[in-house]
């Protein structure tokens, strides 16, 4: 295992003065599954792009692939050297068959003019045979579930001569059974002497699939280790750089009267018999894996996903929330998980995005906007939330992730909400800005707003909420007091399998 297939030394990369990667070394052996882990913004995706040749590292770097030194790695060099990156979007053609998707690159490389179906099918069958996958070569890719589409993408990488297959968070949209299937395929790839670089951040998956793991934090590599030498808590500590065991918050909210109360809320196939109370000034953390029903629950509270049964009480009065409009009028605001498509009008200015929730109040008798008040609102939030923008007239898409998130916050805070639902408030926000957003959330709670914070970053939930609800398979499994719990306890809760399928240990 001495000969590394890929060896990166001293990789630095700065974007406009911001260090994305700093002195990173990485070695990947032939025939291993290497996991690359780190929090959002830790530099994982930049490192993948360096390996793919899409991003050039700063001078001084050394890239060695299969004992060949590369001064500059272009995307084509990288591919010819045997590196295949499977991005999250998979880059497949939904309207072509499995065989066509797998074999088309080879046909292009051979500069063919004609295609023969029997040839495509043979190529595809060969690739599928190598990893033991069985798909109908004549089936349309668009009609396959995502998990099977991923297999098609893997087969394509193999026919393209991939010796190192990089998978960028391949499990993010898969259910449990599909993940197991994917892992069985990954093991077969490894057993054939190929390498896999598996990029992710879900711990249970990493412990299941990795031979070795490398950890990135804030653009630096913290270390590489055989997976057997680490336990979950150590890995979390390496990823986050802190051992957060007790909450940094004192209990500063009153439990006299619940602000929001949910009783027996259910929706078939999504969540079941959910009960919770949220108090004025409280940050209630909800965590759970994808598919646990956490986002569906949030949408139900915001009127976008009407429940089948159950009651929702706000300040003691029962309400049926059948639309987002109703939710807003009741003082509920919702920051979606995907602010790019759901939270912001990316092409429009910061100013317009900020006033969109209160636009009716800003209209004068003539129906025109009161420009002076618009300016006041802009100035106020840019200052209070410390939004870094040269002007309120800048398009939102030009801001960084952290600043975009602040614009979403501003737009909802202008509505003066009583209840604020935050779904993944720091997704895609870099490490420094994360801290500031947490501070903003904290001060909002102190002003009396009840905050429901949904996040799959356990560290965030533990550090910044008062109480934590762990959701699993549509139910609220456990309620924990943030002050008396730790990340590892929650992760254990999340990762334990249902009792019906006990793990057998030798």
């Amino acid at each position: 295992m001495d000969a590394a297939f890929l060896s990166l030394t001293n990789i630095n990369k700065s974007y406009a003065g911001v260090r994305a990667l700093s002195q990173v070394d990485l070695g990947i052996q032939a025939g291993e599954v290497h996991c690359l882990v780190g929090e959002n913004g830790s530099g994982k995706s930049t490192l993948i792009k360096v390996i793919a040749g899409v991003v050039q590292p700063d001078p001084g770097a050394s890239i060695l692939i299969n004992n060949r030194q590369f001064a500059r790695l272009s995307p084509i060099d990288s591919m010819l050297a045997g590196i295949q990156v499977i991005y999250q979007d998979l880059s497949l053609f939904p309207n072509l068959t499995v065989a066509e998707n797998i074999a088309i690159n080879q046909c292009l490389e051979e500069k063919r003019v004609l295609v023969r179906r029997s040839q495509l099918t043979a190529l595809a069958r060969e690739a599928m045979g190598r990893i033991g996958a069985e798909l109908d070569p004549d089936g349309l890719v668009g009609e396959l579930p995502i998990a099977r589409q991923q297999i098609v993408a893997i087969c394509r990488s193999i026919t393209r001569g991939g010796k190192l297959i990089v998978m960028d968070e391949p499990t993010s949209s898969l259910g449990k059974r599909d993940i197991e299937y994917l892992f069985s395929i990954i093991r077969k790839i490894r057993d054939r002497g190929l390498s896999v670089l598996f990029v992710g951040h879900k711990l249970n998956e990493i412990f299941e699939i990795a031979d070795r793991v490398s950890i990135l934090r804030d653009g630096k590599k913290v270390g590489t280790s055989e997976i057997g030498l680490l336990d979950k808590e150590q890995l979390i500590e390496l990823m986050t750089g802190r051992r957060i065991s007790a909450s940094t918050y004192a209990k500063s909210y009153s439990t006299a009267r619940p602000l929001l109360e949910v009783r027996g809320l259910s929706k078939k196939g999504q969540f079941n018999d959910v009960n919770l109370q949220l108090y004025h000034g409280e940050i209630l953390g909800i965590t759970g894996l994808i598919g646990s029903g956490r986002t569906e629950l949030a949408l139900a509270l915001f009127g976008l996903n009407p429940p089948d049964a159950g009651r929702i009480l706000i300040e003691g009065r029962e309400h049926t929330i059948a639309s987002a409009d109703k939710a807003v009028s009741l003082g509920i605001s919702y920051l979606p998980e995907d602010r790019l498509t759901q939270g912001l009008f990316m092409e429009h200015t910061v100013s317009r995005n900020m006033i969109v929730t209160v636009i009716r109040q800003l209209a004068r008798v003539t129906g025109l906007l009161d420009a002076k008040r618009v300016k006041q609102i802009n100035a106020r939030w840019i200052k209070e939330l410390n939004i870094r923008t040269p002007s309120a007239e800048l398009q939102v898409k030009q801001l960084s992730g952290g600043n975009q998130q602040r614009v979403v916050l501003a737009k909802w805070l202008e509505r003066k909400p009583k209840i604020l639902i935050l779904d993944g408030p720091t997704i895609g926000v870099d490490v420094g800005a994360k801290q500031e957003i947490h501070q903003i959330i904290k001060s909002l709670a102190e002003s009396g707003i009840g905050i429901l914070m949904i996040s799959d970053e356990v560290a965030e939930v533990v550090a910044y909420s008062h109480r934590i609800l762990v959701m699993k398979d549509g139910r609220i499994g456990t309620e924990l007091d943030a002050a008396g719990t730790s990340e590892s306890e929650i992760l254990e809760q999340l990762n334990t399998r249902p009792a019906a399928r006990p793990e057998v240990k030798a």
């Binding site: 979007d89 880059s91 497949l92 053609f93 939904p94 309207n95 072509l96 066509e100 088309i104 690159n105 046909c107 292009l108 490389e109 063919r112 003019v113 004609l114 295609v115 023969r116 668009g142 009609e143 396959l144 579930p145 995502i146 998990a147 259910g175 599909d178 196939g269």
Partner: protein, 331 residues
């Protein structure tokens, strides 16, 4: 394989076409006769040729609104030049298709160079091409065309004479269109260029990443639709024996309706040549039956519009169903 065909859009369309024909025949009796059917085949061949070109454009995710203008210009210029010396029919087809392809390459250039949406580009060039012709031509009508045009339209691949003296047969015009359809089918199915067109319509970003030469594919597509418009325009001269500057100009709606009805999606990536032909015949069958049932022709555009809306809605609905199906499998 057989079951896949039974579930396909083409099969559904064929079934509707047959059912519709039987229904109309029950009302008017003169619909399902060899004479009427071969007549529909002949007169639909112009629209068929155009629809095949437009289908290829839509398959790639684009749209062409300039093909009637391109057809009109190629028709006029080709016939006008041929009138200067004796000429012959093959030369007419050759000239019109070259002019068509040249005008199509203008579309391709604009689309490629400035990345303008194809609809806007072709809407603009349609107006430019047609307007320029009207301005520059001293007389845009040509009422007497050489006899070889007409002769071609009366030739049949096979024919027989009915007792009353009328000839019924498989027209060369329809044959030409079917040959073009077959060649296009071969191109899409057995060449890398064809796969490239499907790939471009299915996922343009992935097509670029996979290494398809997008520029070349787009030039081919827009020249191809131009070329077919040129051929169709000469088919038209054969059939009506004169050149008119406006008669072809309203065809966008009918042709696009036929292609969409045939199963092509406006978003690109789906559809077949067979479906396109069925779509054309469906439109013709409907028009023809409206005449047979003595419904005023003012109703034609209403019916065509309804077909576009209904068939797009059905396609979208089917896609939605399929998506829910996949989601259930995933869960």
């Amino acid at each position: 394989m057989k079951r896949a065909f039974l579930r396909s859009h083409e099969f559904v369309l064929l079934a509707i076409l047959i059912g519709f024909s039987v229904l109309v025949n029950a009302i008017s009796k003169s619909f399902l006769t060899a004479e009427n059917l071969f007549d529909i085949l002949k007169s639909s061949s112009i629209m068929g040729t155009m629809a095949i070109g437009v289908f290829v454009v839509m398959l790639s995710g684009g749209i062409d609104l300039s093909f009637p203008a391109i057809a009109t210009v190629s028709m006029y210029v080709a016939v006008r030049v041929l009138l200067l010396f004796d000429g012959n029919l093959p030369l007419a087809f050759l000239m019109a298709s070259l002019i068509g392809a040249a005008l199509g390459s203008v579309n391709a250039f604009l689309i490629h160079r400035f990345k303008i949406p194809t609809m806007i580009v072709t809407l603009g060039t349609a107006s430019i091409f047609h307007g320029a012709m009207l301005t520059l031509a001293d007389v845009p009508h040509i009422y007497s065309v050489p006899a070889y045009f007409f002769e071609f339209s009366t030739k049949y691949i096979f024919s027989w004479t009915k007792s009353g003296g009328t000839t019924i047969g498989f027209s060369t015009l329809a044959f030409l269109m079917l040959v073009i359809a077959a060649l296009t089918w071969l191109l899409l199915r057995f060449t890398m260029l064809g796969k490239g067109i499907y790939a471009l319509g299915g996922n343009p970003e992935a097509a670029k990443r996979a290494g398809f030469n997008i520029t070349r594919i787009q030039f081919f597509i827009y020249c191809f639709v131009g070329l077919l418009s040129g051929i169709a325009s000469i088919q038209y001269v054969c059939l009506v024996r004169h050149v008119h500057p406006f008669n072809l100009m309203g065809l966008q709606l009918d042709v696009i309706a036929a292609v969409v009805l045939g199963g092509a999606s406006l978003a690109g990536g789906s559809g077949t040549v067979l479906g396109t032909l069925l779509g054309v015949w469906m439109i013709y069958a409907i028009r023809n039956s409206l005449v047979l049932m003595r419904i005023p022709s003012y109703w034609d555009p209403v019916v065509i519009g309804l077909i576009i809306v209904a068939s797009t809605a059905i396609n979208a609905y089917r896609q939605q169903l399929r998506k829910t199906e996949t989601r259930v499998i995933n869960a």
